[in-house]
């Protein structure tokens, strides 16, 4: 049976405990004696019936204070799936628990009180969930009975949520009107809201497709320990973080960089030919390259970053001391442990406004971006591509308590860096980080696709002007302009168009890597070509904008007279006439120049780009 792990979070009074109680009760996951003990609890207080909220009330001190202190894990199953709930408290001072629960979850269920609307607390929860890499979000708008099941109230809250989520990496957002107290739309469909046609909470949880949060491509195996059960056998035990491994594969050991061939694999006590991510295995190698705890096996052709200078977003969890520059800690990363010092606190990220704030230190439950310097090199991937090799703990050297958790980002290495196989910069001097520092913004590629005459060049020109005026370093690449020089040797055959786009893509990449906002206006008619351009960038660094106008309208506009010529057969390979245009399947933004005035198109585009420039910063996304 499939396993789905999700977190639940909400503010103090939005009925989260009742919600979970209801979910368990209505799906027949509560036992008679649990119910009986709840009934007797109420009886002792002179009340009848039982309170579903008490199902999840754990510790004595929590009952006394009427709050939840710690993450509680709950287990239930239906005929379709098994579920693990990490129930995280909404209380303000317990941000660390939300982060803890989110670290192993695939999906987040957030509760909103319909009478209160979207509060700061929910924004925090959304931010924290996405910061930890959860991209499936369910919002339960609770207490709908108290607003008389008003579709207007629901719609207003749903719109607010959707708007806020645009700033975050949310792949799927489902918003459900519920009443936990009465059981509407949690397991059983409500009869109070014929206007709502979406799924119930459980219906969605049972069927949602959650792509594995484990990276299936990049093979990484941190070694836990060497096993030598008897004189003949020597093997290395560990859990495969990501990717897979077969007997006969060549592997590279870090940090020694020695190579070997896999001669045997054991999983679950049995010899196997292949092992996958998530599995605890023992690997035997053809030649003895002497591995120990903290080493990592990878493939020679697919290596992680190796660095001593790390860029990370951290959540500070120590109440005794704040995080300050210069302090030193122990860093636990995969199975590796090393000393680390805090080089720099770059900024704090406001969990409420998502703004960057200049600070000297980070306090309990604060989130910030820092630079660390380790004593030994660390083998890592970006958190957003690999949770397992992109995460770490900081441990106080004296108390040995865990004081912070962190998520690694890609840091363009400086020339002093020991080794990095994915280096974008040849060590020529000025790094991307330095350029970002001076420009005051990150680079971004805005790829505008659409038919000839749809308005790409016009919009790009206006956008360039606006961004330039706000002091942003912006460059515009236009398909036609490039054909005058760099691509002057190319015609309009399929092969030439591909080459045209390939060159343009490389120029865009070069400009991006030197810190600019790159506005690309290319017809780029094929999805595959656009994807090829997109794949060169990390998520969040590339924005695909579909500039939409119907062929009929473009033909009427016909600013260069090309459509007329094509209709007359004077030119060939005209997109939309005798050459295919594939409408983008998943554009980040659609600008409809046919149905909206240019002024509102450019406003939306401008707003969106600013938002992306700014939000990519807070997502820990590069």
């Amino acid at each position: 049976m499939e396993l789905l792990r999700f977190i639940t979070a909400g503010s103090v009074d939005d009925g989260k405990s009742t919600f979970i109680g209801r979910l368990l009760y209505d799906s027949s996951n509560l036992y008679e004696d649990t119910i009986a003990s709840l009934v007797s609890y109420n009886q002792r207080r002179g009340q009848t019936g039982f309170d579903l909220a008490l199902v999840t009330d754990g510790l004595k001190s929590e009952r006394e204070q009427g709050i939840t202190i710690d993450v509680a894990y709950r287990y239930f199953a239906t005929a379709h799936r098994k579920f693990i709930i990490a129930d995280t408290p909404g209380h303000e001072q317990y941000t660390r628990n939300m982060v803890t629960g989110a670290s192993t979850a695939d999906l987040a269920v957030l509760l909103i009180d319909a009478t209160q609307g979207l509060l700061v607390q929910t924004r925090r929860h959304l931010f924290l969930a996405t910061l930890l890499g959860i991209s499936h979000v369910v919002i339960a708008v609770n207490k709908m009975d108290l607003v008389r099941w008003s579709s207007e109230v629901f719609q207003r809250i749903a719109d607010e949520c959707r708007e806020f989520c645009q700033k975050l990496t949310v792949h799927e957002l489902v918003i459900v009107p519920v009443s936990a107290l009465d059981g509407d739309n949690i397991v059983v469909r409500s009869s109070h809201c014929p206007w709502y046609t979406g799924p119930t909470i459980l219906g969605h949880l049972e069927t949602v497709h959650v792509a594995s949060k484990r990276n299936q491509i990049d093979f990484r195996l941190p070694i836990q320990l060497a096993l030598r059960p008897d004189a003949e056998f020597r093997g290395y035990a560990g859990r495969i973080c990501s990717g897979h491994l077969r007997v006969g594969d060549e592997v590279l050991a870090l940090p020694s960089r020695r190579r070997s061939i896999v001669s045997g694999l054991t999983h679950s006590g049995r010899k196997v030919a292949e092992a996958l991510h998530g599995q605890s295995v023992v690997v035997a190698l053809e030649n003895d390259i002497d591995l120990g705890r903290g080493d990592m096996l990878v493939r020679p052709g697919n290596q992680p970053m190796v660095a001593k200078t790390l860029d990370a977003v951290v959540c500070w969890m120590d109440e005794r001391r704040n995080l300050t520059k210069g302090a030193s800690y122990l860093l636990l990363h995969t199975t590796r442990k090393t000393k680390v010092s805090i080089e720099r606190i770059r900024h704090r990220i406001s969990v409420d406004s998502l703004h960057r704030e200049d600070v000297r230190s980070l306090q309990l439950n604060e989130i910030g971006r820092i630079t660390l310097q380790t004593a030994e090199p660390i083998f890592y991937d970006e958190y957003r591509v690999n949770r397992e090799t992109g995460s770490f703990l900081l441990v106080d050297e004296l108390t040995l308590a865990t004081v912070a958790v962190g998520m690694l980002r890609f840091l363009a290495p400086s020339s002093s860096e020991e080794h990095s196989p994915n280096t974008l910069w040849d060590g020529s001097g000025v790094s991307l980080e330095e350029r970002i520092e001076r420009n005051g913004h990150r680079p971004l590629v805005v790829w505008m696709t659409g038919l000839s005459g749809s308005g790409k060049s016009t919009l790009a020109g206006m956008l360039e002007r606006l961004l330039h005026q706000s002091g942003i370093s912006v460059v515009r690449l236009d398909g036609d302009n490039l054909r005058h020089g760099l691509n002057g040797d190319l015609g309009f055959t399929d092969a030439d168009r591909r080459e045209n786009l390939r060159r343009a893509g490389h120029v865009a990449k070069f400009l991006f890597e030197t810190g600019h906002i790159v506005l690309c206006s290319f017809i780029s008619p094929l999805e595959a070509e656009r994807n090829e351009a997109k794949e060169q960038y990390l998520e969040g660094d590339f924005v695909e904008v579909y500039v939409r106008a119907s062929l009929a309208v473009c033909e009427i506009r016909d600013p260069k007279g090309l459509y007329r010529k094509a209709r007359l057969g004077l030119i060939k390979h005209m997109t939309g006439i005798d050459s295919l245009y594939e409408v983008p399947l998943t554009p980040d933004l659609v600008v409809d120049t046919e149905n909206e005035p240019v002024r509102s198109s450019i406003e939306r585009l401008h707003d969106y780009v600013l938002q992306r420039l700014y939000s990519a910063e807070v997502q820990g996304n590069g």
Partner: protein, 298 residues
Amino acid sequence: MAEEHLSQLEDEAIFVIREAYTQTERLGLLFSGGKDSIVLSWLVRKAFLRGGIPFPLLHIDTGHNFTETLAFRDQWCEKLTATLLVRKVQESIDSGRIADDTSTNPSRNALQSVTLLDAIGELKFDALLGGARRDEEKARAKERFFSFRNRSGQWDPKNQRPELWNLFNGLKRPGEHFRVFPLSNWTELDVWNYALAEEISLPSLYFAHERDVVTREGMLLARSPFVTLGQGGSFERKTVRFRTIGDITCTGAVESQARDSRAVIAELTHTSTTERGTRADDRKSEAAMEDRKREGYF
């Protein structure tokens, strides 16, 4: 394994067992003779391949045992070629460390904590593996995989280390120790399904058999030298099985016809009571387990 999630749970448990072994100096396994510690010791043997179990099992013996439990315990340790250490609550009582429970419904369950902490000190364990699961009880729902215990052996729910991803901080100062729970994410049904899939034999107490029992506060307690009849009660012969195995004085039976694992699984799938509903020790108060855990209980 047929079930994908059982395989995932096994991978997770083996990872945690290896982390505990490699991060600490003297590891032990708390062995009660119950199904959870049986499955746990099975997983330990898997984790170290032909190396067997590279650390001792520790049984805290209350003296109030089912005879079947001790017989099974010895057989099992022999089968796994595991070293078994036994420390007796009776000895703690004899040496004056603790006073026996002399109430009408006596139980040594809570007394075990003292014997256990003494054993940890004596044997210098810095970590003990335990078979506790988060689905058992509400205080356990908040447990970490690596549960930190201070120098007095106590659990402070407000002062547990944050545990994220698969990163376990097993660092500690002298005198502090860890309880490590590799089965944290398993449910009662998972344990049964796993035992069935792996063909792990479990003690006969878990399966339906005839036994003299007395009904006390809605629980069926087995006839033993330690369970005396109170006013009005009487022993009756019933077909019962146990869902948990602990101290004989506080472990209740349930009426059942499930004579093998498949029947038990079928029964559990349709059961309407919790596993620990048969434990008198948990029924003493709302926060019984939490209080015992604070004192250093399993």
